[in-house]
Symmetry: C2
Subunit: 350 residues, 2 copies
């Protein structure tokens, strides 16, 4: 019963082809093709007639046939080597939002940066699937060879990252340095003078940017940053614990710690609890990313929120934006608000 309205006038038999449309509209299939592909050299009246038939028939071009003829699939690849599930899923969400209502689908491709075959694997992937384009997620997005590869095989790409690594057409960047600077200034404003840093892995641009922001703030406040107050982690909870314990052994002990992401910040809080160090009374902690864990541990973490979903959406839109075609040019959500989320993990030093 309720099924009757599902396929507008299609009769639920065989899917209509371009030939059906052509016949009913009294034009050649080539002309129908022109309508579909928004060819400019086309009589407006003819276009309308064809579009009417398309609508009535509920015709949708076959993606497989188009892929073959155009030598290009209507697929957007998502290439990542990010271990943080929440981050990856948020980015997937953003991309899917951008793709919604278009003919594009998203195919996901995790890669192993440590594998010698990584580039070859990706090359095979891109060439075989003839992807329309790919979104590169951090941190693998920082790999210039990967971007060069995309260029070489003729696959559009957009990189997401913590700083401008490429020209504007190929890049959607946050401004980690500035954000971390502000977060650190907040700690300083609370009265902290001895602040420890847990930075991200060597070679990661995000790690570098965040460290620079941290240093900026300290320098601006005229504070020194002893080498010993910097520990390194690899963005995981466990390394956060280890790094925190290293900082806890310092004397005098820092009264606050900025961890380069929430996972590590959670590790700091965990380690503090193990050592009987009260947060925030004896130790303030700030994280970065505002992933769910930040709000779910005790005390909830003060952290830096940045617009993961909208950035991913913007990235995908860069890829398909012009192809999507007029109708749903979607009044760009613009937003992109970054902010310091103040929770209970920070207090003035005693």
């Amino acid at each position: 019963m309720t099924r009757s309205a599902q396929a507008p006038a299609a009769g639920r038999t065989a899917k209509p082809t371009i030939n059906d449309v052509a016949r009913l509209a009294n034009v050649s299939k080539k002309t129908v093709s022109r309508v579909i592909n928004r060819s400019p050299l086309l009589n407006a009246e003819t276009r309308e007639r064809v579009e009417k038939v398309i609508r009535e028939l509920g015709y949708v071009p076959n993606p497989q046939a188009r892929a073959l003829a155009l030598r290009r699939n209507f697929l957007i690849g998502l290439i990542h080597d990010n271990p943080n599930a929440q981050m990856v899923l948020n980015m997937q969400q953003g991309i899917l939002e951008a793709l919604h209502g278009t003919d594009f689908e998203m195919v996901v491709r995790p890669v192993d940066r440590s594998s010698a075959m990584m580039l070859d694997d990706v090359r095979t992937f891109l060439e075989r699937q003839r992807l329309f384009g790919v979104v590169l997620l951090p941190p693998i997005s920082e790999n210039d060879a990967l971007a060069a590869l995309c260029e070489e095989v003729g696959c559009r790409y957009v990189r997401m990252g913590s700083a401008q690594l490429d020209d504007a057409d190929h890049m959607v960047a946050s401004n980690d340095r500035e954000l971390v600077k502000e977060a650190t200034e907040f700690l300083i404003g609370q009265g902290h003078r001895l602040i420890g840093l847990i930075e991200g892995p060597d070679g990661f641009r995000s790690a570098q940017e965040r460290r620079l922001g941290f240093e900026d703030a300290l320098a601006a406040a005229g504070l020194s940053l002893p080498r010993s107050h910097i520990a390194r982690g690899n963005y995981t909870f466990e390394t956060g614990v280890t790094a925190a314990n290293r900082l806890f052994d310092l004397s005098p002990r820092p009264t606050a710690i900025f961890a380069s992401n929430d996972e590590m910040a959670a590790g700091v809080v965990f380690a503090a609890r193990e050592r009987g160090i009260a947060v925030p009374e004896e130790l303030s902690v700030i994280g970065f990313d505002d992933t769910p864990i930040a709000a779910h541990i005790w005390p909830p973490l003060t952290t830096v929120r940045w617009p993961i979903v909208s950035m991913a959406r913007a990235a995908a839109r860069k890829l398909v934006g012009d192809v999507v075609g007029g109708e749903a040019a979607a009044p760009q959500p613009s937003e992109l608000p970054s902010m310091l989320v103040r929770r209970a993990s920070v207090a003035p030093p005693r």
Copy 2:
């Protein structure tokens, strides 16, 4: 320099086509096609000769052309409406593991169960993309109409779930009921007699199964389960907090709480902290899923681990297993170990 070894003897010019293979192997393209599609009526010697040429040439059939001719894409869809990032990503990982080395790719499709258009959207998706098959993730996998739809449009499917919802060919199930029973028995074994339950959303099979397991354990121990000791959440941290507060108001207060997933269990621990209830001294907590948050909060959660990744892998293998073809029949990892992970959130009642 290092590039020389990338494409085995392909010469980095144009990709070889089926015609190239046919010419070099001295057979017709029809025969090559037979080799590719593993036709049984084919002389073994001929097959080897063709396979040799294929290997030397590094020939790979064009997926777009195949998709068009076969009216079927080499894509596996992942349909989900799961809000838990870690769970979804683990399942993606499992599917990708199963797909690795095959010609299949994974395309992700989140759906909105509350939308009236959900089924129509999925139908359009399946029919347009002509997916080879789909994996349905819980909880949307419990939707029988969705499975029926897959059947109707001729798309293979495998459902993942907490109980046997379908015949073995279409189902990969865990045994939540038994697992929860064991977890609850552990609490009882620790001496708890007044145990609260935070169950999952109404209508979710997983919620029902876990509740049944909980009841099984209590009944087996001759314990009563007052209605008031059951609170409901929707698997989120926030509802866990709310439900926990409801249970905290009971008197006598339960000495232990089983939460139907880790998110809610984390909410319980958080709420306890807010109310000054010590975990595990005054309250023991057990969760379910063993997601990262379980190990990252304080105290770390005792929880039930089940093999998310391998189940997803098994699901995908059910779809592509027979098509993949002999060579990499992969000695099934079999594993699938479920277990109670004992951490600090449980102690005997005072």
